[in-house]
Symmetry: C2
Subunit: 400 residues, 2 copies
Amino acid sequence: MISSKEAHDIIYKCSIQFEKSKEELTNACGLVLATEVTADRPFPPFDRVCMDGIAISSEAFKNGQVEFRIQSTQAAGQPPHSLNDSNHCIEIMTGAVLPKGTDAVIRYEDLELKDGLAKVQLEEVRQWQNVQKTGIERLQGDVLLSAPQLISPAQVAVLATVGKAEIDVVRWPEIAIVSNGDELVEIDETPEDHQIRKSNVYALQALCKKNRWPSKTYHLSDNREEIQKELNSILRNHRLILMSGGVSKGKFDYLPEVLSDLGVHKQFHKVQQRPGKPFWFGTYDRGFVFAFPGNPVSTFMCATRYFEPWMWKNAGLKLKSETALLAEDFRFNPALQYFLQVKLSQQGSHLLATPYKGKGSGDLVNLAQVDAFLELPAERNYFKKNEEFRVWRIGVNSAI
Amino acid sequence: MISSKEAHDIIYKCSIQFEKSKEELTNACGLVLATEVTADRPFPPFDRVCMDGIAISSEAFKNGQVEFRIQSTQAAGQPPHSLNDSNHCIEIMTGAVLPKGTDAVIRYEDLELKDGLAKVQLEEVRQWQNVQKTGIERLQGDVLLSAPQLISPAQVAVLATVGKAEIDVVRWPEIAIVSNGDELVEIDETPEDHQIRKSNVYALQALCKKNRWPSKTYHLSDNREEIQKELNSILRNHRLILMSGGVSKGKFDYLPEVLSDLGVHKQFHKVQQRPGKPFWFGTYDRGFVFAFPGNPVSTFMCATRYFEPWMWKNAGLKLKSETALLAEDFRFNPALQYFLQVKLSQQGSHLLATPYKGKGSGDLVNLAQVDAFLELPAERNYFKKNEEFRVWRIGVNSAI
């Protein structure tokens, strides 16, 4: 049996190359930008007025002129007016192009306006005051967004500004999510006394969905011939397979055998961890099979700890390594790496992890009440309050 | 001019009641559960075998029996077998119902199997060992998920287990996102020298999308009559309006006037903050108008700081109040509440906020490089390293 660290290393030695595809900007938030984006023109693209008021020639003010006749009014979005007489001014709005012949803007707050005359109430007028000069933020050709990077609303704003109505994004492959076991029935069915409804495939599907990874679900019976036939087709149609169940020691846990028969090379089976000990991982010519134990908490932990960050890494992104302080002493005796379910909170600027144990290893409901798994090292069995450990968040929005 | 705190309080005194709607479970991740969910049967629903091995009568073992003839093999998903002879056993798989007449499970690891006989290699066998008793996790009727709560993958798993193929969710109203200003052209157009492309509506649309709030975009010209007509229709068709631009002092900033003419009651205009000083907020019979300043960073900050958390609050959820330590001394002289753009990182278990200033108040590109706004109090102008301030995250996935 290998350690959690070894399992991690084996998985991370594997890589998958994602293709690019085109996506409309309005649907891009949450996807990964695949091609860097440069400025199509300077930012700002013209000498931009950044206050409402009047535009003047600072030279005229320096020469003693304080009252300026308003020659015209120029809104944002209008081609720039031209100042005909340097002792006059042009009334001007935020976002407008600085009128020709002017080089300073006086805010309304610093003016007295009367009968078409604007009287400047300032001691001094600096050249280019209240003006953002062409290219002061970025020059044409500057890289605005490197790639790859996750597209959040701020990235969308930048992409809109440079006219990217359509962009290159990482094309996530469709992930196969495969449940198995005759004890499982569909969610809209009423199970017999000895049956339960499927839940792991729905959890995995939701995990994919929150990351905007497309997925398709399958179900295998406990019949070996059927498993082999169906799995063969799944392996041919997908490059990433997430399975749940069928990897324990049971008589009907054919999966490792069948996968091997179908050319999937076992990289490991069983990891010194709880939950998720029977975790099986294999590779084949086209891709990768993550076969998680059927226990709901095990499937969930393995997907969160191993699969999810590995996917981001393959897209060229990196998860931030987040840690938290254990809020109370905790004991775990077995020589296994324990992934403790915790609630996260802040105390001062510290992130605190408070153990919140479920009622047994299959207690799914507990998962819905915690924020993360805390990774407790296998080589110890006593963990003290205020010690710092790695955190793996499970929610869809960490701010709530 | 009011303070940021006052603006917050005025907004939070307003509330909007969201309706419920039905949603398919497979599309529920990221939505808000609107009705609490109870257990349709006990968890687990039967005495569940949690190891692969054999099921025996612990009484027989106590009476000296150590070798058990395998009577039959029972898989998960099969109706329970019955033990005919208490000196026999039933081979049993994880997830199966405990067979009738048995009350303990011995793991394969603790057995020697030969010629249809299973020899127990243990000193002691406890009643109910490796068995999860009916209802040990939850009883029928127990509340499994309270409402309202955000639906993450773990919630989806619980909902699947209790057969909720369709659930009640908070029905987010369609949000109107309104740009205005003749200087703006569409993203697929090439702007004239004095024009720029729209970006704020796309940023706001993406912000809505990341929260799964539906939205619809509109654009108003700088023509007052047209604004009035179009806005009237928007107000009649939506309960939540986000606007960007048109609230400064400019000659063509008709919005506050027009909104007032249309029956929208101004709650405040201008907040002692940077960015976002000209922020305007109003209420009308049907709903609310958040009119953000046209500067992209201002719109972004106001939407993140005021609108987004207010929406969650109205859905009955609460944002976690997150703070970070300032990573270096920082000075900001104006008597305004400053929302400083920062990168977030961890040092030990501390969250650190490193100032990352853009090149001017309109520098959109900088927003795409930071993680959050740090809220620096208005009454001070010097902020020391390691002081703790409130953080407002802006990304779509805080782990990346």
